[in-house]
Symmetry: C2
Subunit: 137 residues, 2 copies
DNA sequence: CTCTATGCAAAATATTTGCAAGGGA
DNA sequence: TCCCTTGCAAATATTTTGCATAGAG
């Protein structure tokens, strides 16, 4: 299971466009962080992204990774997957989908959802900002 | 929105039975912690439960609350609701249901789910241990 | 040139662990 | 009695923040 080159390209294009729209400087660090996330299907944690990006940017700080992931999340460029008793995981796949958290090894898998799961845009009279459907297996 | 006396009683009965079945001593602390959780519909955090239980058990420690909530969760007496950027919340309602997290004030509400959401017992060939459906509004 | 991002270190949060003493079964 | 639990304190883990400097637009 890998992200196709076309999909990766689309994610990077969207990233750059959203950065421009929001006047967010496209620093090499931001690009490296997002690029790694966008190419991943392992739902990496901030620490894992940091470890990988550090290979190129030996001086990068974990705080920078956190700061940028937070910004990306707010801008809707990725979603934050909270894990009970563990670090948040991040996912650059924007289409509505679920996750299966394997409690035996901590791996997080994407799940396609049946059509019925396409959520109503309103819950309790409020616009839904984000939906998380997680199966623990 | 409150837990009905019947429901509370049922939850306490189930708690006591599960404790006996698992040879878990029913200490006053455990009873107080579970009782408060079972009577709550606010999905309290460990800290909130600690604050309340401390009114009766002035010496209780936050670690004890965490230890017991963890045990309750493992035994299926409650579920742990992870909140991005915040402490876990706990819920003694065992029926499959969703949650609406109000991002404006941090309140967590229960949501009834349409029948379609009753999940298949298998995901990726594995038994589903727990399902979390959370709307962020 | 201006403004934000970065890197570092320290702080803030959240949760877990080790251990001696106490108390349920 | 035996073992699990409790309470305390310290350790861990995770994430955020303050600030001086660097670098993108």
């Amino acid at each position: 299971m890998t992200v196709t080159p076309q999909e990766l390209k689309a994610r990077m294009e969207n990233f750059k466009q959203v950065c421009r729209q929001n006047k967010l400087p496209q620093t090499p660090q931001k690009l490296a962080i997002f690029q790694h996330l966008a190419a991943s299907c392992t739902h990496p944690s901030a620490q894992e992204i940091y470890d990988r990006v550090k290979e190129k940017f030996t001086n990068i700080s974990l705080a920078t990774v956190y700061k940028n992931l937070k910004k990306f999340t707010v801008l809707g460029l990725c979603i934050e997957i909270p894990i009970p008793g563990g670090a948040n995981r991040y996912d650059a796949k924007l289409e509505i989908h679920g996750h299966a958290v394997d409690t035996a090894n901590g791996l997080v898998h994407d799940l396609e959802l049946p059509k019925e799961y396409n959520y109503s845009a309103q819950v309790m009279g409020r616009q839904v900002k984000q939906i998380h459907l997680t199966y623990y297996i």
